[in-house]
Amino acid sequence: MKVPLKFTVNGVLREVMVEPYHTLLDVLREELGFTGAKKGCDSGHCGACTVLLQGKAVNSCLVLALDARDKEILTIEGLAQGGKLHPLQEAFLQHGAFQCGYCTPGILLTAKAFLEENPHPTEAEVKEALVGNLCRCTGYVRVIQAILSCSQRGLL
């Protein structure tokens, strides 16, 4: 039986009806149309579904939608502001840090939360932070370069 759920997505208060067993991923994608969070495995291993919940990177396929009640969510659609790319998005573009793009929203959001905690990481720390995001296309090399370039420029 569906129950109401109120939460804030990208700064806007949303109200939807959800089943208790629905995941945050399914609700974001199917009820609200935020398809930027992707379903890669639905079991918490690939990170393509990553969104920020109260500023923390989570696998939204492992979060029950109801656990997001009254909380704040940031999806990839909310990263660029006023038509301007976020410095991380700009860095990914300049460094060629994406190819098919399916894992990219998850990686960008994980990187954003990470750099906010650790603005000047070492390469090893960047790799540790991103270990939960699988990418099949890039070999991760330019992902690391793009994230480090953001921290070095202090542009956050």
């Binding site: 089943e19 994608r29 199917e30 149309g33 935020f34 398809t35 930027g36 992707k38 379903k39 890669g40 495995c41 639905d42 079991s43 291993h45 690939c46 393509a48 999806t75 990839i76 659609e77 990263l79 660029a80 790319l85 998005q89 990914f92 573009l93 300049q94 060629g96 994406f98 190819q99 098919c100 793009g101 399916y102 894992c103 990219t104 929203p105 960008l108 790799k127 540790e128 991103l130 270990v131 995001n133 699988l134 990418c135 099949r136 296309c137 890039t138 070999g139 991760y140 090399v141 330019r142 992902v143 690391i144």
Partner: protein
């Protein structure tokens, strides 16, 4: 060395910028009003006759709107080349995972619940999981009707479960072995791996009021999907439209119809749009993975390292269905590697079993023979006390050499520069020996066939110039991640002298874009790039001719730059692209359109040449440093170097991206990935136990681009997507041998295997 404005530059991928913001849509992101969710019922048995399917209970479940089985189809089979596969199982199932029925319901949960209500009566049949047993005449037969499958005749068709058997012979191999100073014989085995794309197969099908189906599919080959889907369901092709939106990785796995006909049937029966998306478990149990292989090699050489003779054989476990675009005749060639070997006898067998089916995976049929020959060459070099890189240089192919077996002549061979670059790198990076650390090298080759006449691998491109001067490129190509649209924009930009960012690309819709066989084969820039070039040159000619007329000069008096056409000796007299385009539209000339097709004449000439020579084979050499932990067998890849001949790098950053991604792809094959099968059942159908390389596994990677131009590719371009994965596994195996003295000849090289080998050698 030509200086270009846009070609050869590492321009950022602005055409794909939407992938950074969530704007770019993938097939599973589309939705339509009244849309239903589809789910497939898969066979729990590896080999069984279907006695009866009762869908009545499933149909009665509230929320279920359609249930389909093969009874809803015309009963035909399909396949990318060999048409051995029904849409849904007919009469029998051939592997655990074989699609048997499908459901469309109001939501995913109802669809899943309904699957359990479909009652299938099976009669189990003896199954065969070992390809060697499957080759025996008394083995259970996976496909008893195989001789009726299209194409009915092909070179190498075998008997019983043998899909293909072939032999390539040249010289006298026994004599060559007898004359050798050293002969090394060994065997190798490799595993099944999945393409590993992060986006699972997904389709959305909607049938319009005039009976025309629109299919949004995660595919790299919309035209192939359209043809296959229409043919297998006996629909006119004009009633099927396929659109490929953004594709979340393909690596070979999305070029053949699978979900599309099933979803189309559900849409027809339910009268509603149907979305069908595979779960990760379904990806890893019931799609088309790489064949596993058993390979034997016997290589004879003189004591100075010159190869004299090679005897080789492979047996491929090809699973229950076969979905490649060729039998395997070209795979036999890979056994000999990129080497000149005067006497060869190479055999190959591809066999049906009741295991998971096999299809195209990045560099189809190549990494297994490459692993074998590149490990083998090292072993022989070690036996001879010679440097493995030197042995490769000594025997490596060059211009004028024939392909193994006295085949076509190789031209524009870029192997040697990659070997030299690797030698330089090692001289620079390899220090004194360190305990448990080692270095290994290996080569790889790809692209040994020019054009596949069977699939009409020509391409076309159109350019239209809108009345405001905007240049629009129209192509059937999909971008699965490789950055093709940016590449094409760079080509158009160079010719028309406009910024690449300003070129709009419209793509991958069977209704509105020209025919295209599909992105892949490391041949997209090579094939389609030429069509794009010709289209741009055609548009340019029309612009120049109109500008000359309007400015009352001859074409030779004109120059152009940044959207402006002007008289060379009087540059103030000029016309913009916008003016020319509108003027053309207003006149009898009409819209300015550039048409690019590999012209018939050119195509036929190229084809004839292709049979006798290969000018765009792509070679690479890798070097890798590993560290082995002798207590656990764990391998850490420390440093990586990859040199690749790409002919001409239209966008060097893109090329490096393919190298880096290819190395990661190869590392998975080498060290951690395996579709683990036991009695036909996949033991690890999830991303926890099917181990893709993570960011933590990656070493630093140094890429080195070699450019030995091809005769046919645009600006000399060849290709790069696939060969970058080939040398990785053998280079790592060779490095492990250098580090701790054990040779693992069975992929993937897991810590257990190294541990066992280390302890065996010490006991």
């Amino acid at each position: 060395m030509t200086e270009y404005t846009y070609l050869g530059k590492s321009l950022p991928r602005t055409h794909d910028q939407g992938r950074l913001t969530g704007e770019s849509l993938y097939a599973g992101d589309f939705r339509l009003p009244g849309m239903l969710w589809g789910k497939i019922l898969h066979s729990p048995y590896a080999h069984a006759r279907i006695l009866n399917i009762d869908i009545s209970q499933a149909q009665r479940l509230p929320g279920v709107k359609a249930v389909v089985t093969s009874a809803d189809t015309p009963g035909l089979t399909m396949g990318r080349w060999l048409q051995d596969r029904p849409v849904l199982a007919q009469e029998k199932v051939r592997y655990i995972g074989d699609p048997v029925a499908a459901i469309a319901a109001l939501d995913q949960e109802t669809a899943e619940e309904a699957l359990e209500l479909i009652r299938v009566e099976y009669e189990e049949l003896p199954a065969v999981f070992d390809p060697f047993l499957a080759m025996q005449p008394d083995s259970p037969l996976v496909h008893k009707d195989r001789d009726s499958y299209e194409p009915r005749t092909y070179r190498g068709r075998g008997k019983g479960n043998i899909i293909f058997e072939g032999i390539v012979r040249h010289g006298d191999v026994e004599k060559g072995l007898a004359q050798s100073d050293f002969v090394h014989q060994d065997s190798y085995s490799t595993q099944a791996v999945h393409q590993g794309f992060i986006e699972p197969h997904a389709v959305l099908v909607a049938i319009g009021s005039q009976g025309k189906a629109t299919i949004w599919s995660s595919t790299k080959a919309p035209f192939i999907i359209r043809r296959m889907t229409a043919n297998v369901l006996k629909l006119p092709m004009s009633k099927v439209r396929v659109i490929a939106p953004n594709v979340g990785g393909d690596f070979g796995g999305k070029g053949s119809a699978y979900l599309e006909p099933i979803a189309l049937l559900l849409a027809l029966k339910s009268g509603s749009p149907v979305k069908l998306v595979l779960s990760r478990q379904e990806e890893l149990t019931s799609t088309f993975v790489r064949e596993s292989a058993f390979i034997e090699l016997t290589l004879g050489a003189k004591k100075d390292g010159t190869f004299l003779a090679l005897k080789g054989k492979f047996v491929f476990d090809s699973g229950a269905y076969f979905d490649l675009t060729r039998a395997s005749d070209h795979a036999i060639i890979f056994l000999a590697g990129p080497y000149n070997i005067p006497n060869v006898e190479l055999r190959g067998y591809r066999v049906y079993t009741n295991n998971i089916p096999r299809g195209q995976v990045r560099a189809p049929t190549a990494p297994h023979p490459t692993f074998a020959i590149e490990s083998h060459v090292d072993s022989l070099a070690n036996k001879l006390g010679l440097d493995p890189l030197e042995v490769r240089m000594k025997n490596g192919v060059k211009d004028g050499d024939a392909m193994p077996g006295g085949g076509p002549i190789l031209k524009n061979v870029g192997l040697k520069p990659t070997l030299l670059a690797t030698a330089d790198y090692l001289k620079r990076e390899r220090g004194p020996r360190e305990k448990n650390k080692g270095w290994g090298v290996a080569c790889g080759e790809w692209g040994l066939r020019q054009v596949d006449p069977m699939e009409g691998a020509t391409s076309s491109a159109w350019i239209k110039i809108d009345e405001d001067g905007t240049v629009v490129l129209i192509t059937g190509v999909t971008d699965n991640g490789g950055g093709q649209y940016g590449i094409f924009a760079q080509i158009v930009a160079e010719i028309l002298k406009i910024p690449p960012d300003s070129v709009t690309v419209i793509a991958a819709d069977t209704d509105s874009t020209p025919f295209e066989v599909g992105t892949g084969g490391s041949r997209t820039t090579y094939r389609v790039g030429n069509s794009v070039r010709i289209a741009a040159e055609d548009a340019l000619q029309k612009l120049l001719s109109l500008a000359a007329e309007k400015l009352d000069v001859s074409i030779g008096d004109l120059a152009f730059h940044n959207g402006r056409f002007f008289i060379k000796r009087n540059p103030e007299r000029s016309l913009t692209l916008a003016t020319l385009a509108s003027a053309s539209l207003a006149s009898r000339r009409g819209l300015i359109i550039g048409v690019g097709e590999k012209l018939r004449e050119e195509m036929l000439t190229a084809q004839a040449k292709a049979e006798n020579e290969v000018d765009s084979a792509i070679y690479g050499t890798h070097a890798v440093q590993v560290e082995v932990d002798p207590e656990t067998g764990l391998v850490k890849v420390l440093k990586y170097f990859a040199a690749h001949d790409v002919g001409f790098a239209v966008n060097p950053a893109n090329v490096c991206g393919q190298i880096e991604g290819g190395v990661a792809f190869g590392m998975g094959y080498a060290l951690s990935e395996e579709v683990i099968l036991e009695q036909g059942k996949v033991q690890n159908p999830n991303f926890r136990d099917y181990k893709l390389p993570t960011i933590l596994n990656m070493p630093s990677i140094e890429s080195f681009i070699v450019e030995v131009p091809s005769s046919f590719g645009p600006y000399g371009a060849k290709g790069v997507g696939e060969p970058t994965t080939l040398p990785v596994a053998p280079a790592i195996a060779n490095a492990i041998y250098d580090a701790v003295g054990v040779r693992i000849r069975d992929l993937p090289i897991t810590p257990e295997k190294i541990f066992k080998a280390l302890h065996k050698s010490h006991s």
